[in-house]
């Protein structure tokens, strides 16, 4: 500590007791700067956290979409099939009902409405339409 003469000691005492009331806007300025610092957030390896979050979201989205495309049971995935894939083995629907026509073809013939309950009943010769 320096050696003070009496004047210096007295001046120091007087000046040390000085007070000034700051304007309220000064605290607002400090608070804004603090908010900006906190809002800006820290950086991880020089990258902002929101950038990392966006990248993770993008990767997650891509993964989900590719997984959906791979899923054969998913209707969305089936719709995106190419024409070349039509040669894949046909799998009949479980509730398929075969339709029978009078003249053998759908355009020229009349559809025979058969009751499933009488499908196995043998029709007598005199009652048959085509001999």
């Amino acid at each position: 500590m320096a050696n003070f003469d009496p004047f210096e000691k007295e001046f120091r005492r007087q000046a040390g007791g000085l007070r000034r009331t700051p304007a309220s806007r000064n605290w607002n300025r400090i608070e804004r700067r603090l908010d900006k610092r906190q809002g800006g957030g820290g950086r991880i390896l020089g990258i902002r956290p929101w950038m990392i979050a966006a990248l993770l979201l993008l990767v997650a989205g891509t993964t989900v979409i590719s997984k959906m495309a791979d899923d054969r049971n998913n209707p969305l995935a089936q719709r995106s099939e190419f024409i070349e894939e039509l040669s894949t083995p046909y799998t009949p629907m479980e509730d398929f009902e075969p339709v029978e026509y009078l003249n053998g073809a759908p355009d020229g013939g009349e559809e025979i409405i058969q009751d499933a309950d009488f499908r196995d009943v043998v029709v007598a010769r005199e009652h048959r339409v085509n001999g």
Partner: protein
């Protein structure tokens, strides 16, 4: 809140603790800043920058010294930075063969000094005188430390102080403060 609670709160970015620290120390620190700067607006700029730095660098306060002293050092440093930015510290002269006693100021005059007159006295001094006078007389820095802080020689620091005291004595007489009450 105790000072320890305030420090802990500030370290945890607690806005209420930061506000409490500001409310407690800003009047003193604004007066400190104003002693260095010639304008009120500059002093307020220093105050804002300094308190932001206090809260931003609070983790570096090791809690061994005085918290108020730590804040005061930041305020003084910010004030000096502002003066450097404004190139206000460039003009400094050295005196040779000066007897400091011839520029001494009677203590009795200062004892009766009003607060407003202290500020007025400092405002009449050139920036270099005022800065060295504040650092040496009020803050208690040594000439070697002042020389480092202001990037001047030790002799320049001493010269500035002597000239500041000479100017102060003249001003005190002008303001009606004589050596004998």
């Amino acid at each position: 809140m105790t000072e320890q609670e305030l420090i802990t709160g500030c370290k945890g970015n607690d806005r209420r603790a930061q506000r409490a620290v500001y409310d407690r120390y800003s009047p003193v620190m604004l007066a400190v800043a104003r002693r260095y700067t010639a304008r009120d607006a500059d002093a307020e700029d220093v105050l804002v920058t300094a308190f932001f730095k206090v809260f931003d660098k609070i983790s570096s306060f090791n809690e061994q010294g005085s918290f108020e002293g730590w804040i005061r050092r930041i305020v003084v440093n910010e004030a000096l930075m502002l003066l450097r930015k404004k190139h206000a510290l460039k003009q400094a002269s050295e005196l040779d063969d000066v007897n400091p006693a011839s520029f001494s100021v009677p203590a009795s005059a200062t004892a009766r000094l009003a607060e407003a007159d202290i500020m007025a006295l400092l405002d009449t001094m050139p920036t270099g005188y005022r800065t060295v006078f504040n650092l040496y007389v009020v803050e208690g820095y040594k000439h070697r430390e002042i020389a480092e802080m202001l990037s001047i020689s030790i002799n320049t620091s001493k010269s500035q102080l002597i000239l500041a005291k000479k100017r102060m004595r003249e001003q005190l007489e002008k303001m009606g403060y004589s050596a004998n009450p």
